[in-house]
Symmetry: C2
Subunit: 211 residues, 2 copies
């Protein structure tokens, strides 16, 4: 099934989950059909953009009727990979790492955190929720038995470079980077950056500028 | 001090924390001077872009010497607002909300979560860490005594619209939205979106496309 998934432009990929949230909400309210115009009104995204984004999916809306809500929701969930389970490990089981392990929302979107790795003796050998925490030295030995391709980097920024290198050496295919360090690695490795703290900087500036 | 802070383009604001992370790392390693060329090599960002971004700050590098590392770190921290305390509340003290309360990293970047709000009777009246959880009905009455201008929206997506409206009515000036719902509100309100799950969609697609 994965082999049928084409490479989609990132802006489209980022909007598709918005459409999913919108359609799920409509379905929960008993709505049966939806047009891109309606989604446009709900989300404040241009309706021609929505039609174009949805054209990547294996679904067609009907003129003057629109999309079947249940079908569109299912096609989006399948397409986005949220219905499949993707095993991942957390590098760094400190504050942010433990928080991500605790966030059951990630599991609902297909992310299955199977282990954490840390060097802190107070954490190694413990469980957070039901997730075991191993020593980082065991990363390479444990990766394939864990069946994990995704490493979530939640370590302090000053060791992010070293940890990312260790993950690549251990055979991980994707790094989800929560640190502000810009990871550079081989082009075969997928790197996704989530800069929570950069968003704070934007928010603080906008608040100050409005005063 | 806030009044001297100009409106900065968002791409610049998002890069400044990368520079801060880089400079903090250099300072920890005892480096005293840094040029934009060095930062460029570390972060994989064009050095003329870095010089332009840093020109928004009240600091000048010296030709052939570069920036003073300690000074640049301090100027960045001040400018980004990470050294000031910004009171915030969490809307939704479930899985993600509790995780954000637990993430001490946010506090290091100036975000001070002073309360959570939820409608779940099992949560209302409890503390998470040292953060009290109140009923959402008390939001308007509690906001000013809490001195909070920022509301972090971590509720289920189907109530995100209602909760955002309640926050604006209660007098919050900034909404940090972790749901995939696109909040539309008056232009005086700062809305910052952090779509963790949209990043998952991008990562899954890139992983599949590489197979």
């Amino acid at each position: 099934m994965d082999s049928t998934i084409p490479y989609i432009p990132e802006p489209t990929l980022r909007r598709l989950p918005w459409y999913l949230a919108c359609v799920s909400r409509l379905r929960a309210h008993g709505v049966e059909r939806v047009s891109s115009t309606t989604i446009s009104r709900e989300l404040n995204v241009d309706s021609s953009q929505i039609a174009k984004d949805l054209s990547y999916l294996n679904i067609r809306g009907k003129t003057r009727i629109g999309y079947d809500v249940v079908e569109l929701e299912q096609v989006l969930v399948d397409f986005l990979g949220f219905a499949r389970s993707h095993n991942a490990v957390i590098m760094g089981a400190g504050s942010l790492g433990a928080a991500l392990i605790a966030d059951s929302g990630l599991r609902r979107f297909g992310l299955n955190i199977v282990a954490g790795f840390d060097v802190n003796p107070a954490l190694v050998g413990t469980d957070i929720g039901e997730v075991p925490i191993f020593h980082t030295d065991e990363l390479a030995a444990r990766r394939s038995e864990l069946g994990a391709e995704i490493a979530i980097i939640a370590v302090p920024v000053d060791i992010a470079a070293d940890v990312a290198e260790k993950c690549v050496a251990a055979g991980f295919k994707a790094l989800w980077n929560f640190t502000p360090f810009r990871i550079r690695t081989s082009p075969e490795i997928v790197v996704t950056n989530t800069s929570i703290y950069a968003h704070l900087a934007v928010m603080y500036n906008r608040l100050s500028a409005k005063r």
